[in-house]
């Protein structure tokens, strides 16, 4: 679960990481009212999850209430588009923040390093820029420390990093405390990634988090019901919401641009099914991992979700039976999808395992197209999507 900036900064405040004075606002009237009672220069920041929102025009400056209202009217409801999100993301709310006098900008993040199975702290003196670009052009400008999760964080790690990254001396005193806070948020809330970019050294000598990027592990959200609730207030991803709404795992469904709908049992087989469709000259309309049991009700809801995408012209259900008998799987699919209330598209079903032959007969009788192999199924579905009979 990715958090919006104002939500991430709420977590920062809880552990004492300094953030600029700010106000979250959802309407132009709120913006106007806030600046009226707090006169001065304010930064108006679109609350979106995409990277590069500044370049996309999502950050503006307001010197008085009227200007703030105009900007808010312009930004709220606007769809920001960037290199990383060509589809765009709608701005639903704004964060008003005190303008900082910037002396220097640094970068600090903590993430899980899969290879070493440890948290890694990453620091660079080149903050405020796209960090991937820094990594590519100036790999030496990025320094890392791998923390032993059994021992935890100790301030020397941050000191070592600050010197190695050649952070301006103005950062040095505050830096260990900020990284300690960051590590606390990382561990306490089970983050995949927590990033401050830029970490700002102000002209007054304060060190403040200029931005907050927090991505929490969905599997750990049950430990933080108060934060899991935030996602309901500002859903980050339509696919995830749709998946959860029908009882699938959050990342079990993703919509793409092709015209062949897919359902598979298992994430690996789901990806393999998409690949098979590509190999057959087509494109999948989605990824959907229906999981192990594949009960009739879930099959029905999953099918309905996939065909709710009008681009879907043909469907490929790829079930590797394994334990479940092929005839049972087939009967389940027929029971689930024979009702009259679902949009019908040509449906290819691949069945394997014991009693697969009987299963294919059941499917054939119900007007579906049974196949034996994944390659064959993908080829048939692609042909059907392209108008073959």
């Amino acid at each position: 679960m990715k958090l919006l900036e104002y939500q991430g900064k709420e977590l920062f405040k809880r552990v004492g990481i300094p953030v600029p004075k700010s106000q979250h606002a959802s309407t132009a009237a709120d913006v106007k009212a806030f600046i009226t009672s707090n006169p001065g220069s304010w930064v108006v920041k679109s609350q979106v999850l995409m990277g590069g929102r500044g370049k996309a025009g999502g950050i503006k400056f307001a010197d008085d209430a009227a200007q703030g209202e105009t900007i808010a009217n312009e930004l709220i409801g606007k769809v920001l588009k960037g290199v990383q999100n060509p589809e765009g993301e709608e701005v639903k709310s704004l964060l008003l923040e005190a303008k900082l006098g910037i002396a220097s900008e640094a970068y600090v993040s903590i993430t899980i390093d899969r290879a070493t199975k440890k948290p890694v702290i990453i620091v660079s003196a080149q903050g405020g820029m796209d960090v991937e670009e820094v990594a590519e052009k100036h790999p030496d400008a990025i320094v890392k420390y791998w923390v032993d999760p059994a021992a935890g964080f100790s301030p020397f790690m941050a000191r070592q990093l600050a010197f190695a990254a050649k952070l301006p001396t103005g950062f040095h005193k505050a830096f260990p405390k900020i990284v300690a806070g960051l590590y606390q948020v990382f561990m306490d809330y089970g983050a995949n990634l927590i990033e401050i970019n830029p970490l700002v050294l102000t002209k007054d000598g304060d060190v403040v988090a200029g931005d907050a990027k927090v991505d929490l592990d969905d599997n750990g959200l049950y430990k933080h019901p108060d934060i899991a609730k935030w996602n309901k207030e500002s859903p980050e991803d339509e696919d995830q919401m749709n998946a959860v709404a029908i009882g699938l795992g959050m990342s079990n469904y993703a919509k793409f641009g092709g015209n062949v709908g897919t359902i598979a049992n298992g994430a690996g087989l789901g990806m393999g099914t998409m690949d098979a469709i590509r190999n057959a000259g087509g494109e999948a309309a989605n990824f959907l991992d229906i999981g192990g049991g594949a009960q009739a009700e879930l099959v029905k809801k999953s099918y309905a979700l996939v065909v709710s995408n009008p681009n879907v012209k043909a469907f490929f259900i790829n079930i590797f039976g394994g334990i479940t008998r092929g005839d049972q799987v087939a009967q389940g699919i027929v029971d689930a999808l024979s009702g009259g209330d679902l949009r019908k598209v040509p449906l290819v079903v691949r069945l394997t395992g014991t009693n697969a032959e009987e299963g294919r007969k059941i499917l054939d009788k119900a007007g579906f197209i049974p196949v034996e192999t994944m390659d064959e199924g993908a080829a048939r579905a692609v042909a059907l999507a392209n108008g073959a009979n």
Binding site: E132, N219, G268, R278, G322
Partner: protein, 293 residues
Amino acid sequence: MSIFLDKNSKIIVQGITGREGLFHTGRMLAYGTNIVGGVTPGKGGTKIESGQLVFNTVKDAVEATGATHSIIFVPPFAGADALWEAYDAGITLAVCITEGIPAHDMMRVVATTPGMRIIGGNCPGLISPGKSLVGIMPGGIFKEGRIGMISRSGTLTYEIVDGLTRAGLGQSTCVGIGGDPIIGTTFVDCLRAFASDPETDAIVVSGEIGGSDEEDAAAFIKEHLPNKPAVAFIGGRSAPKGKRLGHAGAIISGNTGTPESKVAAFAAAGVPVADRPSDIPKLLAERLSALTV
């Protein structure tokens, strides 16, 4: 021989009286797995229908049965606790089937259980065909033989194994290492074990996009397995880029994690990458026959 387990390995089931645990215990017993007991707190002293004793704690189970291996079927919130309990009781290999354990829990478990091999979580387990099944794989599709198989997924593994078996290529051991970001046993750990297994002639590595486990596997094969042919597969090559990859993650792995990087790494190691699972048996047979000439 096989890696990680053999016919005599004594196995307990953590969560043996739960729905999944009980169901798969029955399947494993039917396959011939040496299950010596199980654990469900509060049900100590009872027996399941097939006669295996249930204990209250892993410690009790290990003391009474001498078990060395455990397979874990518990809810995600109890996953880390179950692994720590296994470690505390002296279990040397734990297969964690549970899906959805928080990555931070796994990170702490891995850092604090030195010497215990953990397979998974979120994995289908492992099988040495004809000897022992410690997992939820459908035993019927496997065949005893000399191909080592390692995979990040469940059903895609079955897809590939089914093809191998139909082509007459039996398996020595098949390990499903699991699809989570933090897992106990990596491809390289498995390859190291296969390297010294005289009964494994060739290896199939079934990976997927994300992380750098495949790149590490390719480097290991190049360096340490010159005499064991390998064939790879990468699932998700048609997936659009980026959805779940954060910025900092991209820094650590540089250009790794993309299918291009993984294919290039295997190519550099002389390992062919199959375009489709159904191509794997043929590629493997070619590599094996080239070896015997």
